[in-house]
Amino acid sequence: MSPEWQAVWLTLKLAGATTVILLFLATPLAWWLARTRHWVRQPIAAVVAMPLVLPPTVLGFYLLILMGPEGPVGELTQALGLGTLPFTFGGLVVASVISSLPFAVQPLKNAFESVSGRMLEVAATLGASALDRFATVAVPLARSGFLTAAVLSFAHTIGEFGVVLMIGGNIPGETRVLSVAIYDHVETLEYAKAHWLAGGLLIFSFVTLVSLYLINGRIANRGLS
């Protein structure tokens, strides 16, 4: 595989893994944030939104320290015999999950908030337990939120640069994703190669977002939101 295709494959793998993990993680979190009236929801919501405002280097810096050999997470992973996470694909996944968290939580939270409490009450009076109500009423009614969350997490992970560079470095086949490869090409004045990758990403992002809007628009027109 050429180094370019290796970077493309690695990027897709990272984005895919991140998206899957994020959907599992963000769904309960977003549900809780949308439903609870407890005061701690505000600080928690702020923590979730932090990656939106922090420079990626700051996030990357702290993750590097946390997951490094001297950090608490690093000590834990070493004790478990996993080694340390920085400069590995696993480390990249962890960092991407954290940095893309708001892109998954926010649309899900909005979608869950728009599920009327009345629908859940109706399901309860029809004999559905809390988990049953969630799976058969809340999730289907929030499905455009799931789509948006998945697409945005995927796309944002592909567009990741700062955090990736801080945590992953630039190891071909392991942590050298597209954005880093483009940076590399520009550094070494290989503009032609940079053009191919950058142009590809540009088109990919545009097509992805247009499809998302079209699909969500169709769901909304069916009166499901």
Binding site: M119, V122, A124
Partner: protein
């Protein structure tokens, strides 16, 4: 109450402005209407019975305790169904799958209403494959009622199920409710602030005001009382259930029998032996001390005065009477009451000018 009491509800809950405090013993079958002005706590009472809101107290339904002390069954474990005020169909499911939702969640052995019955009772055959947003308001409520029945509830709760509908859909859906009252053996608690619905479908009434129960009893008895709040003298009238005893086809009249004497009313085409609900407005009743057949009014019955009160207008008096066990009300001028020397215990002849057939 004359019928066996099988619903015990004792609930207390603080609300903004007042405290909901209800202690009710209701019959285990028939329609009990909870009636009162908006904001009197009747919907909250219903939600507390369902377990959707917390309240201190005790709830038992036909021998099954749902709430006692700190023990409270979660909503989904209570064998009840609730029909909400506005459309509550799941928008992502077809009519058929909405109906299936509750039906599939109860054990097969517990099913007392079949899919075919519910679809037939509520007239849904041609709607089954449709999505809820393609239905009219009345159709949606019919689906919601069928969906509720399909859970074979031990108690059916209805929270102003017709209030979001226009007059036409409302009168469209009422016959379906009548049929349910006749076909179902389960108790129904029906919250409403509309007197017309109360008169049409209730068997028993609980009147509420400011979170408290101000009166409870059979509809006929409650409709014959003069001491209740929000009395509307123009609409004041006794509602009674009668049986058609005979029909006079030549004159298009039928004889409505009840414990207190027969009344001849307009024939509505119903057969002998069927039930007929009537309303006699106080303003359509006049009194005489002797029987007078020399006049156009032919519904003349003997009654005993039980109570006399001042009307909303100072010229008017309201008279409560008993015809056998049935109460009756009349509105006359205070001058007439004075001239006839009306007082509690006095025997009079009731002259009923007109009777409304309610169903």
């Amino acid at each position: 109450m004359t019928e066996k009491t099988n619903l015990h509800i004792r609930l207390r809950r603080k609300l903004p402005g007042f405290t909901l405090d209800a202690d009710l013993a209701l019959p285990g079958k028939g329609v009990t209407a909870v009636f009162g002005p908006s904001g009197c706590g009747k919907t909250t009472l219903l939600r507390c019975i369902a377990g959707l809101e917390r309240a201190e107290g005790y709830v038992s339904v036909n021998g099954h305790i749902w709430q006692e002390g700190k023990q409270s069954l979660p909503v989904h474990r209570r064998p009840l169904a609730l029909v909400f005020q506005e459309s509550s169909l799941f928008p992502h499911l077809s009519v058929q799958r909405n109906l299936d939702y509750g039906f599939n969640r109860i054990a097969e052995s517990a099913r007392q209403v079949t899919m075919a019955q519910a679809v037939h009772w509520l007239g849904l055959t041609h709607l089954l494959s449709r999505m809820p947003d393609g239905l009219s308001g009345g159709e949606r409520q019919r689906v919601a009622i069928a969906r509720a029945l399909l859970t074979s509830p031990r108690l059916l709760l209805m929270d102003e199920p017709l209030s979001a509908l226009d007059t036409a859909s409302r009168s469209n859906i009422l016959p379906y409710l009548d049929r349910l009252r006749e076909e179902l053996a389960i108790p129904v608690i029906y919250v409403t602030h509309a007197r017309a619905e109360l008169a049409r479908i209730a068997d028993h009434v609980v009147m509420m005001d400011q979170g408290r129960v101000v009166a409870a009893g059979e509809l006929t008895e409650i409709s014959g009382r003069l001491d209740l709040p929000d009395r509307d003298d123009e609409e004041l009238g006794v509602i009674l259930d009668t049986i058609i005893g005979d029909r006079d086809l030549a004159w298009h009249l039928c004889r409505a029998d009840f414990d207190g004497g027969p009344l001849w009313v307009r024939d509505s085409g119903r057969s002998k032996g069927s039930r007929l609900r009537l309303r006699i407005l106080a303003r359509d009743v006049s009194l005489a001390l002797t029987r007078n057949d020399d006049q156009s009014i032919f519904n003349l019955l003997p009654a005993t005065i039980t109570d006399i009160r001042e009307g909303a207008h100072p010229a008017m008096a309201l008279v409560a009477m008993k015809l056998g066990k049935i109460p009756l009300l009349a509105r006359l001028t205070r001058l007439s009451a004075h001239r006839l020397e009306l007082m509690p215990g006095k025997k009079v002849w009731v002259q009923i000018k007109s009777v409304a057939v309610l169903d």
